[in-house]
Symmetry: C2
Subunit: 329 residues, 2 copies
């Protein structure tokens, strides 16, 4: 199954919708900043998941497009604010909003995208009781996203971070919008309570697997394919599952442990030092641990799809889970 | 009528509600920042307007408390982000969130308050169709607030700003949450379409009058009463209605005009220069113009209350309009 073909096809319903929501608005300088990330593309994974799930439970995928667009706007709002908070300079090959404009514009453009997401939600054509449920689901997701972003900052360079801490953070920062997309798609499509719950879990685990695998290819992938400098997580001192596991295997006094610690969080580490740190992470079993963990999440995620009847939509969701791991970008 | 007594009484229903919404949540450092402004008080004008209006149209004020609390959270979210964007150091006698913590925490705490506001909205006990309407009203208000904040920045130190520009900005930045409070209160209380629309207009004009009067007392008031340094608007180069009108009266080449322009936007202006600028603003008719404009808005706002039957709630709304102007703080 060609996942990208399907993502592209589904986006055909989606792009005009997203553009239309961001067409009107003033003043022009704010609107340019508001449109900067949504226009730059992205895989639109969250809205596509919502649409495919709505189909998979027997509803109409198109009905979930506005809800999906709302989640995509929220995703973009968090990117604008996260890039500002983390001082990341680029996104999707473009300068970040706070770099192209400034801090105030980035704060405001994010807020405006957030507000628009809820305006779009008010237009979702579902029964009013479903709308109330979608509203709660979406608002709680954003609260959880904020928690996750705070934990991500708190855990950076924190030697006491455990794998459980890390997974909890990833669930909050990365998975929650996927999970809301799937659960919301199921609600809109008329799925049963069990389907809504199982599909939430599916997408939650899918999100964790995606992040674990991202960590792996961030270290072991090809920079020209991933688009992310190899080892940037190491220089930033990120306590990923890989790092946490390797450090727990090494133990204080272990020469490799000390060598690794010297490079972790050192922004000025040489390419050679970073390369050596990656070798140590492999040798101490961190990389294989994260890979196996990701595989376990994918397996569990696919089991949750047992709530769905067979269909091409279900097949897509299975393929998406497989795609989460093993990809090289 | 003692407006403050009524504000205080109504707040009794409100404070436990606001506290309860912000009780749960993690991590602790984020939650402390989230609670910083809401805990510091404020007059709770928006929720009180929503509650009084619900009573005034024949409903129950208490039913509008959660909606009002939602608006209060939005108001606080915008304060956190506005203080960051404008780099204002203090708020309600406390250090601003970005000063007590840092920029990322202020961005995130604002986002979390915003998310919580919509979660609270999902719990408002009204019929589902009313909820949809409140959702749209609230989301659109935040979009408009962002527009207003951008315009405020754009107009600062911009010599081409007209009084109409200024009033449009104030409507967006200050009035819109009052207007949503009144319209939402009317919706919740079961008011007629005419009442919903007229009360929106009432609160919109009330908000403009409040701001115009704030500008006046910011120049001519007693610093120890207003709590705001006299003339800070002048040093910041704010193009208020007072300034715009005075400049239009003076005209280029006019000695007072040039003297005024030299002080406007000059952060290093001496107290003596600021005092002289205020004198000129008075002499050129700027202060009396803004005062009369505020009085006109109050008059029109009160006329809109004709849609309400007589009651003590209506009396409060009349008194609130009178309070907007003439107050010394």
């Amino acid at each position: 199954m060609d996942i990208f073909e399907i993502l592209k096809n589904r986006s055909r319903d989606l792009e005009p919708l997203i553009s239309s929501y961001l067409k009107e608005g003033r003043p022009d300088n704010l609107m340019e900043a508001v449109r900067h990330y949504p226009r730059a593309g992205g895989k639109r994974m969250r809205p596509v998941v919502a649409m495919v799930v709505a189909d998979a439970v027997g509803g109409k995928g198109k009905d979930a497009a506005p809800y999906g667009a709302s989640l995509e706007l929220i995703h973009n709002f968090t990117l604008v604010h996260d890039d500002l908070m983390d001082d990341d300079d680029t996104r999707r090959g473009l300068p970040a909003v706070h770099m192209k404009w400034d801090m105030p514009t980035a704060v405001l453009a994010g807020d405006a995208l957030f507000a628009k997401a809820f305006e779009v939600l008010a237009d979702v054509e579902v029964s009013d009781d479903k709308l109330r449920r979608l509203l709660k689901l979406t608002a709680q997701s954003v609260w959880i996203l904020a928690e996750g972003q705070q934990l991500d900052t708190d855990y950076e360079n924190n030697p006491n971070t455990t794998v459980d801490n890390y997974l909890n953070m990833v669930e909050k920062k990365t998975s929650v919008l996927f999970a809301s997309a799937a659960a919301g798609g199921a609600i809109i499509g008329g799925g049963s309570e069990k389907q809504i719950s199982d599909l939430y879990d599916y997408a939650n685990m899918l999100g964790i697997a995606f992040q674990l695998w991202d960590d792996v290819i961030g270290l072991c992938g090809d920079e020209s394919v991933t688009g992310k400098p190899v080892g940037s997580d190491i220089r930033n001192g990120k306590r990923t599952a890989i790092v946490i596991k390797a450090l727990s295997k090494g133990g204080r006094g272990h020469p490799k442990y000390d060598e690794l610690l010297n490079t972790l969080g050192n922004q000025d580490a040489s390419d050679q030092e970073v390369k050596r740190a990656i070798e140590i992470l492999r040798e101490l079993g961190g990389v294989s641990y994260a890979t196996e963990l990701a595989e376990r999440y994918v397996k569990c995620a696919k089991e949750k799809l047992g709530c769905l009847p067979d269909s091409k939509h279900k097949e897509f969701l299975v393929a998406l889970a497989d795609f989460a791991i093993g990809r090289s970008y």
